[in-house]
Symmetry: C2
Subunit: 204 residues, 2 copies
C-alpha cells in the first residue's frame, strides 16, 4: 500500500515540521517547500532525507501573489502529494494555489477558530483578555483561517503570560495535534458534512 | 463584615441560580428578579428564603425595553445589591439598566466568547463545527456578550452531540464557574486593566 504523500510548507525554524517528520508512520513527507532560502526548516528536512524546494517570495512579492501561489502548487503537484500542510508558513496563498493543487490542504492556527483568526492569533487573544485559547488544525481553503475544523485543543491563559510564553504552550499542542490530523486523513477517517468534519471511528 | 449582596436575574428553571444559592458563603443572594411569574426559578428562591420580584416583560414588550430595563435596575437598587448577576436571564437590557444599577453586573454565556455570542451560543458552535467550546463568565455591559471576561472553561464537542447534550455539559461548568466568579469579586480579587480582568492571588 502506498503511503499518503504529504507536502509541508514552512517559513522558519520548522519545529512544527519536525513534529510532523517525527510522527510519520501512516504518511510520509514527500517534499518540504519554503518561501525563503537558508531557514532551519530546510535543514530539518535535509537531515530527514526529504527533498526540499525553495519558492523564493523575494522573487515575487505582494504584487505577484497569484504567481507565487501557483508556483508553490506546481512544486507540490510535481512531487505527487496527496495532502499539503502549512506548518508555520507565513504567506497567504490565493485561489490559484488551491485550484492547481487539486488535493486537500491543511493549516494550523494558534487560537480557537473562529476566534482570533489572522496573523496574530496569540497576541490578539491575550489583548482581548480571554482565559482560554488554544490551537486549531483545519482544512485550508481560499477563505483564510475559515476552512472546516479538524481538531482543536484548549490552553489556559495564565495571569503572567506573555505572547511568547503562551505561544510556546500552544505550539506543544500543535506538534501533537497536526500529526494526529494527518494520520486521521491518511486513514480516511475525516468525513465532511457541510462545514463540519466528522471523525469516523477506527475500523477494526 | 457585611457580606456581598448579590441580585440574580432569572427567566426559567433557575438551575444556575440554584448553583449560586448552594455555593453562597462569601456572598448572599439578596433578591431574585424574574421577567415572568410562576417560573421554577422563583420557587427555588422562595425555598431558600430569598425575596423575589417579578418585573413582567409582558407588561412592557419590545417597544418599551428601556423602561423594562430601568424597572429591573430600580428593583435591584431597592434591595441594595453590590452585584447583579444574569443567570439564564433571556432579556436584553439597555443602557438605562447599567446607568441606574450603578454596581457591576455579570453574565454567563454558553460559549467561549468572543466566539458565538448571541442567543444561540451552543447551536451556533455546533453548526460551525468547532471541536471545543465552553462557557464564559464575564462582566455584563451595554455591549451584549462583549464585556471583560472573568473565567472560562472548555468542553469538547463529541461526534454524536446534540444541542441539548452539549448544553447540559456546558451548564455543569456554568454552575461551578459562576459562584467562583462571584466569590472572586467578593474577595476583591478581580482587577480591571483595560478590557482584561486580572485575578489577584488570595491574600494570606
Amino acid at each position: 500500500v502506498r503511503k499518503l504523500r504529504v507536502g509541508v510548507l514552512v517559513s522558519g525554524a520548522g519545529t512544527l515540521l519536525q513534529g510532523i517528520l517525527d510522527e510519520a508512520d501512516l504518511y510520509e513527507v514527500a517534499v518540504v517547500l519554503s518561501d525563503r532560502p537558508t531557514i532551519e526548516g530546510l535543514s530539518r528536512a535535509e537531515r530527514a532525507g526529504v527533498p526540499t524546494v525553495v519558492v523564493d517570495w523575494a522573487e515575487y512579492g505582494k504584487d505577484r501573489r497569484p504567481e507565487f501561489s501557483a508556483a508553490c502548487a506546481r512544486v507540490l503537484r510535481a512531487h505527487d502529494v496527496d495532502l499539503a500542510c502549512n506548518a508555520g508558513f507565513m504567506r497567504i496563498l490565493t485561489a490559484e494555489y488551491f485550484e492547481i493543487l487539486g488535493v486537500p490542504a491543511m493549516n494550523s492556527h494558534p487560537a480557537l477558530l473562529p476566534a482570533f483568526s489572522g496573523a496574530h492569533g496569540v497576541r490578539d487573544a491575550l489583548a482581548h483578555g480571554v482565559k482560554v485559547t488554544g490551537t486549531t488544525i483545519h482544512f485550508a481553503t481560499e477563505d483564510l483561517d475559515a476552512g472546516p475544523i479538524i481538531l482543536q485543543a484548549c490552553e489556559a491563559v495564565r495571569g503572567d503570560d506573555t505572547e511568547a510564553s503562551l505561544h510556546e504552550r500552544i505550539k506543544q499542542h500543535e506538534r501533537r495535534l497536526y500529526p494526529e490530523a494527518i494520520r486521521l486523513f491518511a486513514q480516511g477517517r475525516l468525513k465532511m458534512e457541510g462545514h463540519r468534519v466528522h471523525i469516523l471511528d477506527q475500523q477494526a
